[in-house]
């Protein structure tokens, strides 16, 4: 009789475990699906805290810039085009601040989106930009970073992580603050 009782309570326990397991598995599956569907649009887009995707681009002077080579230093990654008025507006301010922070381990790389060498070079000459400017001819870096509106600035900290993503025009004040953020300590 005692054995029977033990058997019965055993069975009951197993049943509870089994049912809880099946139900929780299904609830997790539903939760995961909802999570994915809600975040579907953000999944492709990078966010602060993510590892910055590595890339390699040639600048207008023919020097190669590989993001991972700058580990230990901050990278101010600015995506732009000559047709984008706010991009044009913030360039001189970026250049001034670059000269301030260059010696403190902050790099600026301005990535143009697939324009011609002529357009980009005449733009660089016009503003006398001192930081490297590269052209993403195949839009592959733009794709990797999922850049939609221009200008977009991706701030990469010395650890190689994305510190912040800024879309839209920045004031000189903003630029100074951002460079301060990614300056190696």
């Amino acid at each position: 009789m005692a054995e029977q009782k033990a058997n019965k309570s055993n069975k009951k326990r197993n049943r509870a475990i089994m049912r809880s397991a099946i139900l929780s598995l299904l609830v997790i599956a539903i939760g995961y699906t909802i999570y994915n569907s809600v975040t579907a649009e953000d999944v492709e887009v990078l966010k602060a805290g993510d590892k910055a995707p590595d890339f390699a681009l040639l600048d207008m002077e023919g020097n190669s810039h590989k993001l991972s080579d700058y580990e230990g230093e901050g990278v101010f990654l600015n995506f732009w085009g000559t047709w984008c008025a706010p991009c044009v507006k913030e360039m001189p301010a970026m250049d001034r601040q670059f000269q301030e922070y260059e010696d403190q381990g902050v790099n600026v790389l301005a990535v143009n989106i697939a324009q011609s060498d002529f357009e980009v070079q005449s733009f660089v000459d016009r503003f006398g930009l001192s930081f490297p400017v590269a052209i993403d001819k195949s839009k592959s870096v733009m794709t990797a970073y999922n850049i939609r509106p221009l200008p977009t600035t991706v701030l990469v900290n010395p650890e190689g992580e994305i510190q912040r993503i800024v879309t839209g025009e920045m004031t000189e004040e903003d630029i100074k603050g951002f460079m301060e953020e990614i300056r190696p300590q």
Binding site: T33, S37, A40, L57, T82, S116
Partner: protein
């Protein structure tokens, strides 16, 4: 709840209708019925038996068919409402964000559109509540199936040959009467011939055929679950890709969502039916409807960069394929398919000018500016050259004396040039846009005269990858197997029992197709001289009909 002890001594779980061992009716309601309820073999639905902890209560909720059907009805109604107005993903707005979508629904559909958007119905199928409902349906399918399948499986696996008389005479097909002594032997012989599995026990015989038909509903539920999990996986990154890529002739572009792959467009072609030659047949139709497209085609080259290569570094890429993408003939690689979807014709690609003397119209030479790769300087020979000072692909006006461009696309190219000739070695500055020349630094002697333009086409391609297709296919296949299993096969059983004194009891049951069962039984009856059977269901129906008629007659008489 306590176990139900049958008269035969067998302990049945609570909720059992027919004793698992002998088949006696266990409930009063069941006992009073003329025919036994054979659904799930009269076993207890497992969840009915225990209802104690919260988990058990949740489980029991989902185990109910009523709840399942309720969820299906709600889903159907919701899904139908979602089709009243187009879903957001199929709506055409220039810039896609919440504000423009809201405005679109309000503008196009008025009040209804506003409400539709407000309730979130414009993006219903990926809303959390819709997914939750589908998930609840999945839970209901799994729980309800388990609760019914397990007891049914056990009961059919352990079924006894000898059943109680009260079980036998409550079957729809029933006979009782005298039969020869060798009736069991003969019946066995014939039943085996008819491909029945026959089991003998003492004075009884059980013949069974097509038991697997009973698993049909459960198999088809498994298919549904697999199908649903495939749909679920679509939302997991990496399983489903649907992207658009615009590429112009001569351009090489990274393929979105396909890291390491690049596409170069060599040529875009659009062909229309001419109505001549072989196509004379279509002439009338073409006269009626105008131009009809015959082919949209993009000739492409697919490149791949080495695995360790980084975005931006395209110098090491290797050619993988050279192909023509046409409608319904996509480029396929590594699980991706690239389809021809759209096109834009005649975008400026190069412009040719003559350097001419404004007075005499005499030409000093020709230059062609490649808009994709403008050069700093164009030498025309004979001491003349043109320096390009600025290029503005989509000229939109001046700001602080500086020409502006609205987009990177050459819709309205503007050129700032300095022209040198032997007569004007200092150079003359001129700003040229289509059909206009501005001379910002005073009157010039020379000008650039537009001669001709080259254009190129752009292809709109769609990149798709769907790794869930095999899962959806498998789910669908299993579902269909389950349906066929349950629909086209029948589970038929006969019980024959020899009583003392030469009386024989006979009962028959099938889950469907009683006609087929009777045909089998007729053959066995004839061969083994079984007593004549009756279809008790028909009897009941006949009696009910008769009662009704009599009642009507009675009413009329009154």
């Amino acid at each position: 709840m306590e176990n139900l002890v049958c008269k035969c001594g067998h302990k049945n779980p609570p909720g059992t209708i027919l004793c698992e061992s002998c088949g006696r009716s266990l409930t009063e309601e069941e006992q009073s019925k003329k025919l036994a309820d054979m659904r799930y073999e009269g076993t207890a639905r497992r969840s009915q038996t225990y209802n104690k902890s919260i988990i058990d209560k949740i489980w029991n909720f989902f185990s109910s068919v009523k709840v399942g059907v309720g969820i299906i009805v709600v889903l159907l109604v919701a899904a139908a409402i979602g089709t009243i107005l187009p879903q957001a993903q199929y709506v055409n707005v220039p810039v896609r964000n919440d504000a423009t979508l809201q405005a679109y629904y309000a503008d196009v559909y008025g009040e209804i559109g506003k409400i539709y958007y407000f309730l979130g119905l414009h993006d219903m199928y990926s809303s959390f509540w819709f997914i939750t409902l589908v998930g609840l349906l999945a839970i209901s399918l799994i729980v309800a199936s388990l609760d019914r399948f397990v007891p049914l499986y056990r009961s059919l696996k352990n079924q006894r040959v000898l059943r109680h008389r009260s079980f036998m005479n409550k079957q729809r097909i029933y006979a009782e009467g005298q039969a020869p002594d060798d009736v069991l032997v003969k019946a066995e012989e014939k039943l085996k011939e008819l491909k029945y599995n026959v089991t003998l026990d003492k004075n009884g015989l059980l013949a069974e055929k097509g038991r697997f038909s009973r698993w049909g509903p459960y198999v088809n539920h498994i298919g549904l679950i697999i199908f649903l999990s495939g749909v679920m996986l679509r939302m997991v990154p990496g399983f489903y890709v649907d992207e658009t890529l615009w590429i112009r002739e001569g351009e090489t572009r990274a393929i979105p969502e396909a890291p390491g792959y690049y596409l170069e467009s060599e040529k875009f072609t659009i062909e229309t039916y001419s109505g001549e030659g072989d196509e004379e047949l279509f002439e009338d139709a073409l006269d009626r409807v105008g131009t009809v497209a015959k082919n949209y085609q993009t000739d492409i080259v697919l490149y791949q960069t080495p695995e360790e290569s980084l975005p931006g570094a395209t110098d090491e890429m290797e050619m993988m394929k050279e192909e023509s993408i046409r409608v319904n003939q996509p480029l396929k690689f590594d699980g991706y398919a690239v389809y021809q979807m759209d096109y834009k014709l005649n975008e400026l690609r190069a412009m040719t000018f003559d350097l001419t003397d404004k007075e005499t119209d005499a030409s000093l030479g020709t230059l062609t500016i490649d808009l994709v790769k403008p050069e700093d300087s164009y030498d025309l020979g004979n001491g003349s050259k043109v320096d390009l000072l600025g290029y503005y692909p989509d000229f939109s006006g001046f700001e602080n004396g500086e020409p502006q461009t609205a987009t990177p696309v050459p819709n309205n190219p503007g050129f700032l040039v300095r022209m040198y000739t032997p007569e004007t070695p200092e150079g003359e500055v001129s700003f040229i846009v289509i059909q206009d020349t501005i001379e910002p630094l005073g009157e010039n002697q020379y000008k650039l005269t537009f001669q001709s333009a080259e254009t190129r086409h752009a292809s709109g391609l769609t990149i798709r990858k769907d790794r869930t297709l095999p899962i959806l296919g498998l789910g669908g296949l299993i579902f269909m197997i389950g349906v066929a299993q349950g629909m086209y096969f029948n589970h038929r059983r006969f019980w024959i029992q020899q009583q003392e004194g030469g009386t024989v009891l006979l009962a028959g049951h099938t889950n469907k197709n009683w006609f087929g069962l009777k045909k089998d039984l007729d053959q066995v009856s004839e061969y083994a001289s079984l007593p004549v059977y009756t279809d008790q269901q028909e009897e009941v129906e006949k009696k009910e009909k008769l009662d009704k008629e009599q009642k009507v007659e009675g009413d009329e008489l009154r």
